[in-house]
Symmetry: C3
Subunit: 420 residues, 3 copies
């Protein structure tokens, strides 16, 4: 209903807020793309091309990269309706100077050539950061990451714990953990000690969150006293035990815990790399009630994979002081879902308890188009509901945008300091 | 998409329809607020303030009320984005003459003082009723309410049955029931007799509905003949037995049965008063198929706690003659949910089978801003879909509004009369 | 947000695309209505009238048809808010020359008389087809349909398999199967042979799909080797076995498999004919992961009964190459659901993998108003998100409409040929 000029004006203002991106998969050692192949290698493009008919052939490691890009762009024409395709157009326009607003197969060589030129510049990553006005990037680090060789003020470490919770029964994971901590893992108590060392290591290096992705049927529960749990066999008990210990460490080390809820791994068995995971909508935050009650001192930043669960997320972050509604994750990161989810979060949850958006990007180039997609929806919601609907000033609406996109990141993920 | 002037015009017309509010928690003996503390004591404000960081301290009974209000308004600045905050602004503007459109901490004393002045007026409740154009208020009475001392034409009694269904195993509940009915409750048959007396009492005093809130996992089922059920221990069988008997009483006494589906009580254990309940989206009206089939003569007014369940509610009220889609309850009472839910109900359910809205209010002052929130969404839906989309006249659209907000209340909840 | 003129322009253009309707229940031997009674006999009207208070009386076979229509139109005034009522108005306007935009009880005789006149014309079906610009109609044929006596290029056969999967234990179903195939059904292997004959028969007669509707709790699984399954007793094992064999036949005969997921049959036991079925939202495409993985060569066109499941359908058709998101089925066929579901499908799924719409109609007259309802929503989405949001040309947006409504039908349901 909102006036288009008002939306555009607001968008322009929101777009000036520097980006603090509280969840990415960017590598600080190789943050920017080095070729068009790095851009088109993002799983969104490989999986959508595969879904639209592309075989696995062009995705083999030894397949010529330039030819792979040509083929991917041929298939892109089958999914140029998607919002993922618009990210690509925006990257091409913004970073490669692409003059058109749709990409076709025939543009492959031009894009390849142009990417070769600009991405070879020694300060390319810095250029992307400046052009995108990025102030801070949160990482997702393996638990045995040494966290060295990069500026942890800009590239903020976060401890990813999927391996620990779901794959500790594998010898190679226990070996990695032993190597990283210097602790031999014979019994559960050793694991607890090792986890504490990990947290100390991460917090000492500026970590601001612990993060994990969880399947729809996961239900955290406190360990039963005296229960004997085997370390070398997979079991729900082992996963729940490790998870609970992580929450205890978050409490002790004052780290927020990012819960990314709802993913089943490897559902489409012959899918491309990172294009195999899906979900089951039959999940509930009700499964987390014990956890939220047991750790009032821990901030849980909850992301949901299915937009359906948003009604729960609104209610749980409205009621539990320690539950934050966080971003729009993966399959729920489409403007149609964001519009509905964002609108109801703003209507029902304290503004101090919203993490507006994170890019989840693997390369710096994707941060800007993804944030811009969100900013556009946010501008529409603010224009519609706050300026026109409630009579707020543009300035007040803009301040609300700044709160959920910028201010909250610093407050919800404060710098921590190692504890003795 | 609709023209803003058209929406505003329609809203103004809808706002002239007198309010029949078919579900509230208002006490007829103390219907209006007596201070700002009564307004800010609404659980929406205490729970949102607590969620945003306020401790339990200011909510203690012996905490000075004026200071409590000051603190609550300090925290309000953290959730002034919410629609609940807009209700407060509208109350302040409408009833206290507050001249601004946002409330800040610094307004606490002004609001307190002004509330002291106006709410002390002996006819304050009458003033609020007139200013709000309220014609009828449905109550939610405990089963042992004597129902005396108020005008039951205006304050319509409704029999709340949560205690009977879920807490009958508690001695104090059985004692209250025995006292209210004069029947000693030794066996199940005595309970049946007691329930009948309750219904007789309520219907004799103008009751127009029986009401209950139900957890997501409740599945009504007819009692098994010959099953022995203990009265003094909690069990699903006892709850289902009492519930089924209530439906039989609704049939006999011709009372509609308000089913408020989906609430888990006490989920956040350290939450503020009335700020502890949440839900599990994994529930279904499918669980109610036996009930809806067994009682074709009983009107079931169904409210859902999670907007997610709206697709089911549309379908079930479209198919079952005895199922009414009723209002927008609690966590689903946000404009973003209402817009989607209302729109699809109007598209799929006979207009005679919709209870447009109820306020669920505890104090009269909240009836108007809550209805106005709904009226605004309704005006948008009617302007968009009926006037612009289908070419209806404004008059016809307005009549549809009147039907679901006003006419239906009288038809769906007709005056009953005690049966012999 | 989109400009109304733009939406209207786009709608007019989309309305010129000839209709290929990939799922109906039309009978090629009696495709058009022969009276107003045939129109008002559509279950949407009988069930909504019944829901709004009409008894079963007027629906008895021996009740005078003209009087039945009068009564139905009396009740129509109770549900003239529904989108189903707008289909009726559009039929009356388009095919009967009805001059008003709302139908009232007093119009019954006029409509009856007019229908008598026009529907008696010998070329009435042809007229409806031309006026509606229908190019192709897919049928839903019983497995023992001889498929003779009609043009299978226009009326495309599809093999409906509900009876085979869920009612094969009934002697009459096995007898029908035996008669249709000439195979005595003593053991499971005989059933397999019979199914192959059915597929051969259907494909030989131009069939382009196999179709089935499935309850929310159905989970396809491969048959366990060596398991003995009785043919004469209902069992999940038997249903799953037959279903898996059908998928194997689809693979062998290169037929797409239409999965219509989520219906519980006979929920409202005293409902009108075809007005008894409902659903349970607690279902997931996760239940189909084994199937989708096991048959990469089979195209599964998935319809969902509950709009809630759309988030899953978007994700599964985005990831699985063999999963197509198909239309807006039954209870999810309301503009409010379509808007949300269509918008997110277009944002997340390759355009080549969307079956935009099917009418599900029983009579030709309903194809046009149902498609027009969808076209209107599509025009809004394209105007909002593609033309205004992304800067696409109207021509490009129109081509996207054409792709999902027209081009895809030919590609997803190609003519097959019988295999040896």
């Amino acid at each position: 209903m909102a006036d288009i000029r008002l939306v555009n004006e607001l968008y322009e203002q929101i777009a000036k807020i520097p980006i603090r991106d509280p969840h990415t998969h960017i590598s600080p050692r190789s943050p920017a793309a080095r070729s068009l192949d790095d851009i088109l290698g993002y799983h969104y493009y490989t999986e959508l091309a595969h879904s639209a008919g592309m075989s696995h052939g062009p995705l083999q490691a030894d397949f010529p990269a330039r030819e792979r890009c040509r083929i991917l762009l041929t298939f892109l024409e089958r999914f140029d309706n998607t919002v993922q395709a618009t990210w690509l157009v925006e990257i091409a326009q913004t970073f490669l100077g692409f003059p058109k607003n749709r990409i076709r197969a025939e543009d492959a060589d031009w894009l390849w050539q142009r990417a070769e030129e600009v991405m070879a510049q020694p300060d390319w990553a810095r250029h992307v950061i400046q052009r995108s006005n990025i102030e801070q990037i949160f990482l997702t680090n393996d638990f045995d990451d040494p966290l060295k060789g990069f500026d942890t003020q800009f590239y903020v470490p976060c401890l990813r714990t999927d391996d620990l919770v779901f794959r500790l029964h594998l010898p190679e994971v226990r070996e990695r953990l032993a190597r990283a901590t210097g602790i031999e893992l014979g019994r559960l108590e050793h694991v607890q000690e090792a986890l504490e060392r990990l947290f100390h290591h991460f917090v000492s290096h500026g970590a601001r969150a612990c993060a994990i992705s969880l399947p729809p049927d996961f239900t955290p529960m406190p360990p039963e006293p005296g229960a004997s749990i085997r370390l070398d066999a997979p079991s729900p008990e082992l996963s729940r035990w490790v998870f609970w210990k992580l929450a205890e460490c978050c409490r002790h080390y004052k780290l927020p815990f990012d819960l990314m809820i709802g993913v089943h791994r490897g559902v489409y068995k012959h899918g491309v790399y990172q294009g195999q995971d899906l979900f089951d909508q039959r999940t509930s935050l009700w499964q987390y009630r014990e956890l939220f009650n047991a750790f009032p001192q821990v901030t849980f930043c909850v992301s949901i994979l299915s937009s359906i669960q948003n009604a729960e997320l609104v209610a749980y972050s409205w009621i539990f002081p320690n539950v934050i509604a966080s971003g729009h994750w993966w399959y729920s990161n489409l403007p149609g879902f964001i519009r509905h989810d964002l609108s109801t979060r703003l209507q029902g949850v304290p503004k101090t308890k919203l993490v507006g958006y994170y890019s989840d990007a693997y390369k710096l180039e994707f941060v800007l188009p993804k944030f811009n997609m969100f900013r556009r929806v946010l501008a529409e919601v603010l224009a519609d509901e706050y300026i026109q609907g409630r009579g707020w000033s543009e300035e007040a609406a803009l301040q609300l945008a700044r709160q959920i996109l910028y201010d909250n990141i610093a407050v919800i993920f404060p710098p921590s300091s190692p504890r003795k």
